[in-house]
């Protein structure tokens, strides 16, 4: 099997497979491509053969009749359709299964936050360090990338991993892989994003376990983040705590396990969350980011759906910091998942603070400002200061409205 795979891979010009999912995907690829190409060739040859075999051999007059042409029996037609249908659905089933596998990262995956912007990739690691255009990962260990974009849609593409995922502004998507080969693999941007789309490339550097820990220990080899100067050396979770305070998260979510308006952050990460609609969900990165952006979608059972959406209020680094902060409270003795379901009565009956619906409490709202600088912002050169959102400068509603609508 292996030599044939390798031969087909070279024939089809596929780059060498360098991730754990690449091999099964390639195998499906080879079976689909060889069967379809063989079938297509047979069909075309059959048509050509008929044209020669049944060509007209003598001219025919205008009054000449000929017997009606034969039609294939119904069972043959239905059989053919049934066969094709089964074949296609079988491929679909295998492909879908693999696709589901691509969507579900193992729980112990190493998280790296990816922020795309025109025309660069920024990778933020849990310890707070950042690299530009170069992603460092250990070999043989699952790595999950959590992607977003600051301006337009980009798409992170690693051909040798057979992986690709769009980075969408205002949304968080994820992608995971286990690298199986040491070395450098190219990263491309696959979603058209403007003038320098074709130059928005980078690379994944796959290190051995020892090299990776050496790399982790050497901050000198990493490029510091371009974010706020104050956070340059701070760990992501310290920054997350600050973000939580700044945006008023801690007014409703405690960090010591006691329930308040919302579930406590303590012990939240990785817990099994009962939802208001009687389903269950694991509080992973995807659920946490989704709940910040779209809190009404999956509401923790026993809590009122009073949390406003933070889409547009939290910028990507803040979200990743928050998630890391919540993650760091994973082992804080708090309530267990089961206890989450029965918060104190006062918490449920407490009316939400005035103005809390649709608006982060206690935090002046930032609404996007005058249009007009959009194009200039959209084309910020790489290396310029990262803006929190494509359109800037942001101005708070308070400033805009004078003393404003905050009660």
């Amino acid at each position: 099997m292996q030599p044939i795979d390798e031969w087909l891979r070279k024939l089809l010009l596929l780059p060498p497979a360098a991730s754990s999912m690449a091999r099964p995907i390639d195998r499906l690829h080879f079976s689909v491509i060889s069967v379809t190409m063989l079938g297509a060739t047979l069909l075309v040859l059959m048509g050509g053969y008929y044209c020669v075999r049944y060509r007209r051999r003598r001219p025919r007059g205008p009054s000449e009749t000929r017997p009606a042409a034969p039609t294939p029996p119904l069972w043959a037609e239905l059989g053919l359709v049934g066969f094709l249908f089964t074949l296609f659905v079988a491929w679909w089933a295998v492909g879908f299964k693999q696709y589901i596998g691509l969507a579900q990262a193992p729980r112990d995956a190493l998280d790296v936050y990816v922020t795309a912007k025109q025309w660069m990739w920024k990778f933020s690691y849990p310890d707070g360090s950042q690299t530009i255009d170069e992603l460092f990962v250990p070999v043989g260990r699952p790595v999950r990338l959590i992607l977003t974009s600051r301006d337009v849609i980009h798409s992170l593409y690693v051909p040798s991993f057979r992986l690709k995922q769009d980075a969408v502004p205002g949304r968080y998507t994820s992608l995971w892989f286990t690298a199986t080969a040491l070395g450098r693999q190219p990263i491309y941007c696959a979603e058209y994003c403007g003038t320098d789309h074709s130059r928005m490339s980078g690379s994944v550097v796959v290190l051995s376990a020892e090299d990776y820990s050496r790399w982790l220990a050497q901050p000198g080899t990493r490029r510091a983040g371009e974010g706020n100067a104050g956070t340059r050396d701070a760990e992501l979770r310290t920054e997350g705590e600050r973000v939580a305070a700044r945006h008023g998260c801690l007014r409703c979510h405690t960090v010591d396990g006691s329930p308040h308006l919302g579930p406590s952050f303590a012990g939240l990460y990785g817990a099994d969350i009962p939802l208001a609609n009687a389903e269950h969900v694991t509080a992973d990165v995807a659920y946490l980011t989704e709940s910040m952006m779209d809190p009404a979608l999956k509401v923790h059972a026993g809590f009122e759906p009073v949390m406003p959406s933070y889409a547009g209020y939290l910028n990507p680094p803040e979200v990743s910091a928050l998630v890391e902060f919540i993650k760091s409270l994973k082992d804080v003795p708090g309530q267990s998942a089961r206890e989450h379901g029965v918060p104190a009565a006062s918490a449920v009956t407490l009316p939400p603070p005035a103005g809390s619906i649709g608006r982060p409490p206690g935090e002046p709202l930032a609404l996007p400002s005058e249009p007009g600088h959009a194009s200039e912002q959209g084309f910020a050169a790489p290396g310029r200061e990262l803006m929190p959102l494509p359109r800037a400068p942001r101005e708070t509603l308070e400033q805009k409205l004078g003393d404003g609508g905050a009660p």
């Binding site: 010009l13 995907i25 060509r55 037609e77 679909w92 696709y99 058209y192």
Partner: protein
């Protein structure tokens, strides 16, 4: 001014539609579906050549990874213009508005379309829309790609509004045409023309028209919203004000995926006429071809999400869209098998349209099979937005639609102009079109496998040999298309006079003289048979259609 009275024709026949009235005004204000079809022919060919020139320009740039003849911005504009002109101004209107317009009433035995003035309006609306699009392109041009993805389209510094507004206007023309065809098929069939006797080309144009009427308004809406977002910053899809750019993709592909079938269904219709005519036997299964057209039209509305497998849609959605894509693939496969089976025990005369059918068969089958491959989701993750996809949809949309456009241009040439083209040049051009096409796009499949993303101005040097092959192929393809069209243009003036039915076809458009008179039939034909009755002789056919 003295009107010059023409000498009456020597025969008793009424003058054909080309000579029934004289002077430019008789063309510009005509409501004759055949003349409107010819005006569309001219306009659409201009768009086709323009789109081709754009393609050749950026293919030339791609000969090397460095800057050759243009900078990145110009390159980005050119592939956008190529896509916009080819998709919105050439492929979508081409076969329906030219051959559908000309042939559909003839195949139904009708004297015209149901709403002739609406048909003329459709032409002028198209012309106005195309003019707006082109002026928008030349006045600074868009660089968003023909898909106008948000939020890039909102923030791009170049002109956008005229282009999307022009496409919206062209969409109105499409709705008019589609509505007209559906009404004609329902209300203007000749006596005895039951649904089971409709020629297959008419079936496919009918299915296409359903898509045109249902999907175009949604596209028009989403493009206008893109334009308003760009100009007035309404932020409908802008994440900065809480909008969702993926929602735009849903709206866009809800139309634009069925739009793929707007391009390919009429092409399939042409092939379904060419194959039985030159094999001189009835299609091996009429019902399979007719019903699969409707299956594709409706199934196509449920497959749009397969453009978004890596956009962050839910896994379950992706699964559903994937399986509907497979359904459409099965419907398409039914057609292909039926065409090949139609050749079996036929009485085959090899000619230019049939050679185009072979090109079509090869390109459509290989393109379609790669479609099955990309509908397999885990494989699409690798191929999405690479040259593999570019090659895949060019095989289907262009290889399929362009070869059948040329097949139709040759097949109905005697019907439209009453003359014969040079068969030898026609066969040569058809072979060259095929070879040029394969040479252009086969390397692109390999480029996609190797990991080359689409819409790239520069690329890693190891891909260069494939790009050189592809560019060489595009030059060959361009020359071959010019050769084919030149052959037809020469035949307009110098071609030998054709008989009424030179291919011994059996469908009803050949019952009227070639070229037909102004109102198509001297007396309305009576239809008492299936459209592909090759067991009857030509004399029997005529005697039964016109018993009087």
């Amino acid at each position: 001014m003295i009107a010059v009275k023409l000498e009456p024709e020597p025969m008793a026949l009424p003058p054909d539609y080309l000579h029934a009235k004289q002077g430019p005004m008789s063309w510009l204000t005509t409501t004759d579906h055949k003349r409107i079809a010819l005006m569309f022919y001219g306009a659409v060919l201009v768009m086709f050549l323009l789109g081709g020139v754009f393609a050749l320009l950026f293919r030339t740039e791609l000969l090397s990874p460095r800057r050759d003849i243009m900078d990145a911005t110009t390159y980005n504009k050119l592939f956008t213009w190529h896509g916009i002109v080819m998709v919105w101004l050439f492929l979508i209107p081409s076969i329906p508005n030219i051959f559908g317009n000309f042939i559909l009433p003839l195949q139904l035995g009708a004297r015209d379309l149901a709403f002739p003035r609406l048909n003329l309006a459709s032409f002028y609306v198209y012309l106005v829309g195309a003019t707006i699009v082109l002026s928008g392109l030349f006045a600074g041009g868009t660089d968003t790609g023909w898909t106008f993805y948000m939020p890039y389209s909102e923030n791009t510094p170049v002109t956008l509004f005229p282009v999307v507004f022009g496409i919206f206007v062209v969409g109105i023309s499409s709705i008019f045409t589609g509505l007209n065809f559906i009404a004609t098929v329902h209300m203007l069939r000749a006596e005895g023309m039951t649904w089971r006797r409709l020629p297959l080309f008419t079936w496919s144009i009918y299915a296409t028209s359903i898509i045109l009427v249902l999907a175009t308004p949604v596209l028009g809406l989403s493009l206008i919203l893109v334009g308003l977002d760009h100009v007035f910053h309404l932020g409908v899809f802008d994440p900065a004000t809480g909008g969702d750019p993926v929602l735009f993709q849903h709206l866009f592909w809800f139309y634009s995926h069925p739009a793929v079938y707007i391009m390919i269904l009429p092409a399939m219709g042409v092939i379904s006429e060419v194959v039985p005519t030159f094999a001189h036997r009835r299609p091996s299964s009429y019902a399979a071809i007719a019903l699969s057209s409707l299956g594709i039209a409706f199934g196509g509305f449920l497959a749009w999400g397969h453009h978004m497998f890596v956009a962050g849609i839910s896994t379950l959605d992706a699964g559903v869209f994937g399986i509907f894509s497979m359904f459409v693939a099965v419907f398409s496969a039914i057609k292909v098998f039926t065409w090949v089976a139609t050749l079996y025990r036929g009485d085959i005369v090899f000619s230019t349209p049939l050679l185009y059918f072979f090109g079509f068969l090869f390109l459509f089958v290989f393109g379609g099979m790669t479609g099955v491959a990309v509908a397999t989701q885990s494989l699409d993750v690798h191929w999405h937005d690479t040259y593999f996809i570019v090659a895949h949809f060019h095989f289907i949309m262009v290889g399929g639609s362009l070869t059948s456009f040329l097949a139709a241009a040759h097949y109905w040439f005697p019907k439209m102009f009453g003359r014969l083209y040079s068969e030898r040049v026609g066969l040569l051009a058809a072979s060259l079109v095929f070879m040029g096409f394969v040479l252009t796009f086969l390397p692109q499949f390999l480029l996609g496998n190797a990991g080359m993303p689409r819409r790239y101005y520069s690329y890693p040097a190891e891909y260069q040999w494939l790009h050189v092959l592809s560019t060489g192929g595009s030059y060959l393809l361009g020359s071959a298309v010019l050769l084919a069209l030149g052959n037809l243009a020469l035949a307009l003036a110098y071609g030998a006079r054709s008989e009424q039915n030179p291919w011994e076809a059996r469908t009803f458009e050949w019952l009227s003289p070639s070229p037909p008179p102004e109102h198509n039939f001297e007396s309305p034909p009576v239809i008492d048979r299936e459209p592909y009755a090759f067991d009857l002789s030509e004399e029997q056919i005529r005697a039964r259609a016109f018993p009087g």
